[in-house]
């Protein structure tokens, strides 16, 4: 029993496979109808056992059904020839060489030598295109010749070359076929269809095009199929009956008054006729007349079963709902008879030909070479390993280079054998073409499969129906142009902004505020900055907000721009924005926006923008307070850069409610022992830090701190700069004298500035008080000042002395000088040595001195106007006197020396 079950199962499986693979069998050139009939019979017989067999063999019904459903549509899912184009560079500049590379796929032989690559090139400017074939118009043939010339000669210059007419010295022709192949245009080409080296099948070359809507492959045939080769209707339920039908459209006043539009709709096309009753529209599928009540429609071979032809009137009332249906009209005539009986299909090479010559005929004479610009003495002018005529035919020409000009467009059509075999019982494969954009059918144009009609041939004694259509690929080339710039140019510029300092500070007093510098950088710019247009916008806001309503533009205020020192806000190459933060009023936040625009040679503007929000600190101290170890109060509060003395210990404190402090001194963590001051920090840094200032005059310290706000946890970083200075003292007069006037500077617009002396004063009457100004003013301990007046030491030791004018004669000059030594207290110096390793020798005293002179009494002759020279002389009398004295002495010596020399050897007088 088990044995018979197994036999039964095998037969059932065989039948099952036959049934469910019927569609596949059809695709494999077995007739559909025969296979289906057999499968149906077998199914009836074996179905009971089928279930047993499937169970025995663990065959899932659902899985099998899925597979067979897939196989049903296999015939429409083949991989069609494709070609992709890549350009290098992807964004060419005018005058730059650009190379297009074609990647062909799904051909039977994708080695490039086996395919025909026909390039065509069109320039935007009509004057740059050439009527190469001299036919009076510039058309696709000229575009092909333009490209294939460049490709064949590879840029070789033919100037000065002699071409000898019909000679072919370099023997660079190409031809393979012994017999001339069928060629719709030129029957002298001896290059096989589908690629070099392809043998002509027994049934002849078969060229196909695919309908991407229904997925079928149509053999390209000329005209109509012979009536003898038309498949029977019963065998072709997909096709309607051909013929010419008369639709009686009475009641639908076509071409009558008031109604001027009627629509004829078929399964494939929809045509609208207007009041052109006398016009006759003819196309491949329809031949119809517009008469008063008669409309003749030629029924095409529609594909979809049950396709109807309907005629609709404009006023589509219920009564005039159209006349629909195939054969509704009375057939009044036969369609045009055809004569195609299944011989070789229409195959046409698309490569160009020189006028009066044929590419691929095996002869490439000098005259032909002259047309293509190739070297008559070199069989391979472009040195690509392929001879010249083969290059013109595009054999293996998968790359094409030319000098790019703005608006250039390029196209390519690749001819080769596809991987899809024909239905004929020979070694033939469908010869097909690939276009970069796969535009093989453009509705409303001549590009597309026309006059679809199957034909029937007998193959292996079986009738086989093959879909066919009229198709001219040449009409589709213009719908497959490729612009090298398509999709390659990013339109957006990536802009990034950065700014410094990181914690800018505004000083509302009008001076010493930070210089805010905002820099922009472009990531994908292709030109230099001078060709990029920048436009800056500055807005202020009181809070960090993304809502545009919370920002107010201030850059449009001329007063603001003047106060901030901003000259320009927009211009070419304006990649940096600088503004002085010395503004009387400024909110806490600035939003800086930059819009950039770049123009390149392709005249495509690339734009980009970026914004940044900057927190602005106000005040001088950025929140950090300094105290010196010698001064109990805060120091340099109003100074942007805090000046401090060498060998000083400072305490920095951060104002505000913060936690989690991280102090840095010159970028390094201040994790050293907090010596000196007794500051309890525990195991972490606090809001206060002590540190010594040790270095040379001019050195700077950058004190920065990062902390978190106690309430919001927001991180904040701020910093201050300390600069080491020498302690110094400058004498001045607070009352009783004024600086000596030296002259006046006159500016270009007439404003005058007085030039006064810094160390010469003239008494204005009364007592003169001289003060010593110490720098830094918080110097502690205050040094004792030793005053000297006219060489005599005074008793006062303070920072000022008073001179009584009565003690000095009028006009006399009093010399006042002061000396002071600054040194820190011993305790501070000991602290420096003990805790900060600063030797006491380094913290020794520093001497400060200065001197001035005061001329007592009335002012001497003021050097103004006409008495300027006299005043100059008298005021500088001592200097001039010394000069004259020097001159006199030189003169005397000058006379003395020669006299002495000449006196030697002179005879003495007796």
């Amino acid at each position: 029993m088990n044995f018979y079950k197994k036999i039964f199962a095998v037969v059932a499986i065989f039948s099952l496979l036959n049934l469910y693979t019927a569609p596949a069998a059809h695709a494999l050139s077995l007739d559909f109808g025969v296979t289906e009939g057999i499968a149906s019979a077998i199914l009836d017989i074996v179905s009971p056992g089928l279930e047993i067999a499937m169970e025995e063999l663990h065959i899932s019904g659902e899985g099998t059904e899925f597979l067979t459903e897939l196989m049903n549509v296999t015939k429409a899912k083949n991989k069609d020839p494709q070609v992709d184009l890549y350009f290098n560079p992807t964004n060419p500049k005018v005058g730059e060489k650009i190379t297009a590379t074609a990647y062909a796929s799904n051909f039977k032989d994708v080695t490039t030598d086996a395919l025909y690559f026909t390039w065509y090139l069109k320039h935007e400017n009509d004057a740059d295109n050439t009527d190469w074939d001299k036919d009076g118009k510039i058309d696709m043939d000229d575009y092909k010749i333009e490209a294939m010339r460049i490709a064949a000669n590879g840029g070789w210059s033919s100037s000065g070359t002699e071409y000898n007419g019909s000679a072919d010295d370099d023997n660079d022709g190409v031809a393979e076929l012994k017999n001339e192949a069928t060629d719709g245009k030129n029957d002298k080409t001896n290059l096989p269809f589908g690629g070099l080296g392809v043998r002509e099948p027994e049934s002849g070359f078969r060229c196909y095009a695919k309908d991407y809507e229904d997925g079928l492959y149509y053999e390209i045939i000329p005209g109509n199929v012979s009536s003898e080769n038309i498949p029977p209707e019963s065998d072709n339920p997909d096709y309607g009956e051909r013929g010419i039908y008369d639709f009686n459209v009475a009641g639908c006043e076509i071409c009558g008054e008031g109604v001027t539009t009627a629509t004829v709709k078929t399964c494939e096309e929809e045509y609208t006729i207007t009041d052109t009753c006398s016009a006759m529209a003819i196309d491949n599928n329809l031949l119809w007349f517009g008469q008063r009540d008669t409309l003749l429609v030629k029924i095409p071979l529609a594909r979809t079963p049950g396709c109807s032809v309907c005629v609709f009137c404009e006023d589509d009332t219920a009564a005039n709902n159209g006349v629909c249906g195939v054969k509704t009209g009375e057939q009044v005539g036969e369609d045009d008879p055809g004569d195609y009986e299944g011989e070789s299909s229409i195959c046409t090479h698309l490569f160009p030909h020189a006028p009066h010559f044929t590419t691929g005929d095996g002869e490439f004479t000098d005259e032909e070479e002259e047309f293509w610009g190739t070297n008559p003495q070199d069989p391979d002018t472009n040195d690509d390993g392929i001879n010249d005529e083969a290059s013109v035919a595009g054999i293996g020409l998968d790359t094409f280079s030319w000098i790019y000009n703005k608006g250039d467009r390029v196209g390519l059509v690749v001819e080769g054998q596809s991987t899809i075999s024909t239905k004929y019982f020979d070694g033939g494969y469908m010869v097909m073409w690939a276009l970069p954009k796969n535009n093989f059918d453009v509705p409303g144009t001549e590009c597309g499969l026309k006059n679809k009609q199957p034909y029937m041939v007998t193959i292996m004694d079986l009738p086989v129906t093959i879909p066919a259509a009229n198709f001219d690929l040449e009409k589709c080339l213009k719908y497959n142009w490729v612009d090298p710039l398509d999709g390659t140019q990013p339109k957006k510029l990536d802009v990034e902004l950065s700014y410094s300092p990181t914690n800018p500070r505004n000083n509302s007093s009008g001076k010493s505020g930070d210089l805010l510098i905002v820099n922009s950088s472009l990531v994908n710019s292709e030109t230099n900055d001078n060709q990029i247009y920048y436009k800056w916008t500055i807005e202020q806001g009181s809070q960090l907000s993304l809502n545009n309503d919370n920002w107010t533009e201030i850059s449009n205020d001329p007063a603001f721009r003047k106060a901030a020192g901003i000259t320009y806000l927009e211009g070419l190459g304006l990649e940096t924005l600088k503004m002085n933060l010395n503004l009387p009023e400024l909110d806490d936040y600035l939003r800086i926006t930059v819009n950039v625009e770049e123009f390149n040679q392709s005249n495509v503007a690339k734009k980009g923008n970026a914004s940044t929000i900057i927190r602005i600190n106000s005040g001088s101290n950025n929140g950090i307070i300094f105290k010196s170890n010698t001064s109990g109060s805060a120091i340099c509060e109003d100074q942007t850069i805090c000046t401090a003395l060498n060998n000083q210990i400072l305490t920095a404190s951060l104002q505000g409610d913060f936690k989690n402090f991280a102090w840095l001194i010159n970028g390094k963590a201040a994790n050293f022992k907090q010596g000196g001051q007794d500051v309890v920090q525990g195991s972490k840094q606090g809001n206060t830090i002590n540190f010594p200032i040790v270095g040379s005059v001019g050195d700077t310290y950058r004190i920065s701190v990062t902390a978190n706000n106690i309430e919001t946890n927001e991180s904040m970083t701020t910093e201050r700069i300390i600069k080491i200075i020498n302690p110094s003292m400058k004498l001045g007069v607070s009352s009783g004298a004024s600086p000596k006037f030296r002259g006046t500077y006159t500016g270009l617009d007439g404003e005058t500035v007085d030039d006064v002396s810094k160390n010469k004063y003239n008494s204005t009457g009364g007592d003169v008080t001289v003060v010593a100004q110490l720098n830094p003013s918080w110097m502690n301990p205050l040094p004792k000042v030793e005053w000297t007046v006219n060489g005599v030491t005074r008793e006062e030791t303070g920072t000022s002395i008073t001179l009584s004018s009565s003690q000095y004669p009028t006009g006399s000059r009093v010399q006042i000088s002061a000396t002071a030594d600054y040194m820190q207290s011993n305790a501070a110096r000991k602290d420096l040595r003990t805790n900060w390793n600063v030797s006491q020798f380094s913290s020794a005293e520093v001497t400060m001195k200065d001197s001035i002179s005061v001329t007592m009494g009335e002012n001497p002759v003021v050097s103004q106007g006409k008495n300027k020279m006299l005043a100059n002389i008298f005021s500088a009398l001592p200097g001039q006197t010394i000069f004259l004295l020097r001159l006199l002495l030189t003169t005397l010596m000058f006379l003395f020396i020669p006299s002495l020399v000449l006196s030697f050897g002179r005879p003495s007088r007796s």
Binding site: N872, I873, A876, G879, Q880, F883, L884, L887, T890, T891, F894, L895, P898, S899, V901, L902, G905
Partner: protein, 217 residues
């Protein structure tokens, strides 16, 4: 080349004194216009005169400080003006002359400044003339066998001074020309009065011409 009856020691010392005068004139430290004037007066005029009187023990009239031959003076002066005219013609051919006379541009706007300038030139010419033509040329004309060599000697010395000052421009050419013509006038007229006068006239004419050629609107 040199005369036979010369005192070589005197020649050596005098030559050294001349060079010393020039060096001191060029490099004596001065500050301000007053000191510069005093320095020029001293080393170009006073010191040579004192040297002539006290060291050489000669009469200053032998060194050009006299009336001399006025006929020859005016004759050679007139001839020099012809060369000045040719020089002006030459200047007019060159476009870049104006850049060496930029101060003339400002002077051309103010007549009083022009007068002051030319007066100061006159005074300066007297000093320079006395030193180069009076002191140097008249001394050396008694040294050389061919006396006119002294003209070229003072010319070369003057050129050397100009070169040291680095003034290689059209102004330099003007002064070189005047130096040569003044030497010829002084040599023939035996007086620096005529050479100074005609040098002064020449410089006025030249500067007026430059102002007319290049700075007139």
């Amino acid at each position: 080349m040199l005369s036979t009856n010369i005192n070589k020691k005197e020649l050596f010392v005098t030559s050294a004194a001349m060079l010393a005068c020039l060096v001191l004139f060029y490099s004596f430290p001065t500050k301000g216009s007053f000191q510069e004037i005093m320095s020029s007066l001293t080393f170009l005029f006073l010191v040579p005169i004192l040297y002539i009187k006290l060291i050489l023990k000669k009469n200053v009239s032998d060194f050009g400080l006299g009336m001399g031959d006025y006929k020859k003076g005016f004759l050679w002066g007139a001839i020099s003006l012809v060369f000045v005219a040719l020089f002006i013609l030459l200047l007019s051919r060159f476009e870049n002359v104006s850049k060496d006379y930029r101060d003339l541009f400002y002077v051309s706007k103010y007549f009083d400044l022009f007068v002051m300038r030319e007066i100061s030139f006159g005074i300066a010419f007297v000093l320079v003339d006395f030193f180069f033509r009076g002191f140097v040329m008249f001394y050396f004309q008694n040294i050389f066998q061919k006396k006119y060599f002294a003209i070229f000697l003072q010319f070369v010395m003057f050129l050397a001074l100009l070169l040291l000052s680095g003034k290689l421009n059209w102004s330099f050419a003007t002064q070189a020309l005047l130096s040569l013509s003044a030497g010829i006038i002084a040599f023939n007229s035996k007086s620096i009065l005529y050479s100074s006068f005609f040098s002064w006239i020449s410089i006025i004419v030249i500067e007026l011409s430059i102002m007319k050629l290049f700075f007139s609107n």
